[in-house]
Symmetry: C4
Subunit: 212 residues, 4 copies
């Protein structure tokens, strides 16, 4: 592909992915670093914390990291199928990243007050925003095969859409369950990320192509 | 292109973009993380904040994120047309990034004191610096088609220049309006980023080429 | 390779490496920045610290940076041999990164309480998690040459596996030594990263290929 | 180049550059963010600071950013000529990055105590470490054209070496001048980064090749 053609076709996706990876890595990391702050900046004597004291902070860090990793993998797979971007897709992605930046806040509030309804709903709404924007990106890009390959298998598109749509459904369920029993709602939040770690129909596609 | 040629032509733009994306993602993220700090590092009992308390912080985060996203998209599009960089362009970009690093400060001051003139002017001057340096980068690179393709359509250059120039004009207007009425000035600042989310003449170019 | 083929073969490794580099650079850097915080944010008079006061913080920063650099080099070399990724490898890497995010905490605790057994064991367990997950990634990817080249020399695979396995062995040794004498355990932790800076059998392979 | 060849030749430089850009962007950015912290995290009423109060912090931020940008440009140009990396070069680069992580600390100390000798010497030693490690990287990679193109013009190597060596010379001069008069030493530190913004013999090479 000549240099001239490169500037002629629509905007590339490399920099959008690069900004996304940068934001995810910053959010995922600095949370863990904050745990360390008191032991780094102190100039005097710092007592050794017992596990109870920092245990809650470490658990919130792990939960936050895990949920963010689920979304990062989702973004990675979704953008894997895109060939180009345009202004609309970039702005859907920017709003996605804005919502990602709020995940640590809503996770921390939930971690501190897991039996109250308000943080359960706030957490659910935050997840809903992230999941909706990821779905909107994929829906927009695959509409009339707008920003993906013309030959992209419709079964891949359908499988991916269903898998992404599972997220908002589970979030809405957890929000509604918080009106019945906070603990069942919390359980739903803890269990559902695990669903996305399991391989799905999409994974089979990658494997099939390899052996071909 | 052979390895030898790669070292022969001027400096590439990949690393300049990589540094830029890294700085944008850091600025855009850590702001949101700071909201979370009190709920992460606390070892004792942390009361649930009411929405009034953290509402202002969340709004400032969103406004900051949005304006930075506008500038990032601008930078992405401008650099999309560059083929190479040189020392002058790199230093224009470094000064651009230095100004970007001050945006959170001037946004936060504005968010806390939005009816006073001093932060309105400081915010305007900061935006002006960012916008001027982005314009200077594009102007410098397209001068005699210095760092862009020789075949780059002059209409694209002209459209892009006009769109970028819109920024400084709106910032100067907002600064001047702050002498008449702080609220009109504030309104100008809140409305103008939206202008850049809308597609422009440039977008049509990308679409036209695709169908060709 | 056509655009269609790119989306057909399994997930690429570029973004996984990009997220990893982002997380490593954030962890490695912000530690150093925390040293600077009191001298940046202060608005009044800040006395010049004497070297004793900040010496311990600087040493912990250096030790942390060094160990993280050892793991980064390990990750760099391991992923160098991968051709593709899949969901399992991505999640092994995500857990690796989660453990990396805890290294500053366990290093700081060790730096403050280097003669007590609890931080020596916590540090060892953290290193063990990182090393085990790096080994698991390499083991999984090279199983039946799953995610590496079919032609990859088995001697390279074997050499790399042995080198990575050295890590967990040294960590387990240091943990066990902490039951005998904390200082010997500490010495083991300080010495073993140096082992990985030395070139190994793998390096010879790179050199041999160059001259061919 | 086939996938097999890629794994056969020595380690690539992409990830080393990626880690470097990540660390530079984190260091350059978070400094500016710290200025903003008090205005973001506060939940109550925050008075508008007068320019005197935050002026010093903004100046230290700018000075820090500028010096880091000089080193980043230096690293960018030096690595531009490298074709591959090996373990030695990676570790020279890791030590370079470790020293970069201390620049904000020594700059902040200098900014707060610019008329005392100790921070002038500490600052000089930090710069010296960074500059020496950059020179060592270039010297090592160009030794017998070890990691650069065999056809790389010796005049380019010589010009680059001389330009990089200028740094340590100026740092040593500034350290020695601090024994005579702190203010002359400070002036040397403030002036010398400007030397590296000016184009040198190397730049002419890039331009010459373009027109060929």
């Amino acid at each position: 592909m000549s240099a001239r053609n490169e500037s002629v076709v629509g905007l590339g996706k490399t920099r959008v992915e690069s900004l996304t990876d940068g934001i995810f890595s910053a959010v995922m990391t600095v949370l863990g670093l904050n745990l360390t702050l008191p032991y780094i900046t102190a100039t005097g004597n710092v007592p050794l914390p017992n596990l109870n004291e920092i245990g809650a902070s470490i658990l919130i860090y792990m939960l936050s990291f895990f949920i963010l990793a689920v979304f990062w993998v989702g973004h990675h797979i979704v953008f894997h199928y895109f060939r180009r971007t345009d202004r609309t897709l970039i702005w859907l992605n920017n709003l996605f990243l804005l919502s990602i930046g709020l995940v640590p806040l809503s996770t921390a509030l939930l971690g501190r007050h897991f039996s109250e309804q308000a943080p359960l709903i706030a957490y659910g709404l935050n997840l809903l925003a992230v999941q909706f924007l990821l779905y909107a990106s994929f829906w927009y890009a695959t509409l009339h095969h707008h920003l993906v390959d013309a030959e992209l298998d419709p079964i891949i598109v359908q499988s991916a859409r269903r898998r992404i749509l599972l997220g908002p459904c589970l979030s809405i369920a957890a929000i509604l369950l918080s009106f019945i029993d906070p603990l069942i709602s919390l359980g739903t939040y803890l269990v559902f990320p695990a669903v996305f770690v399991l391989p799905g129909r999409l994974d089979a596609f990658w494997r099939r192509q390899e052996t071909a």
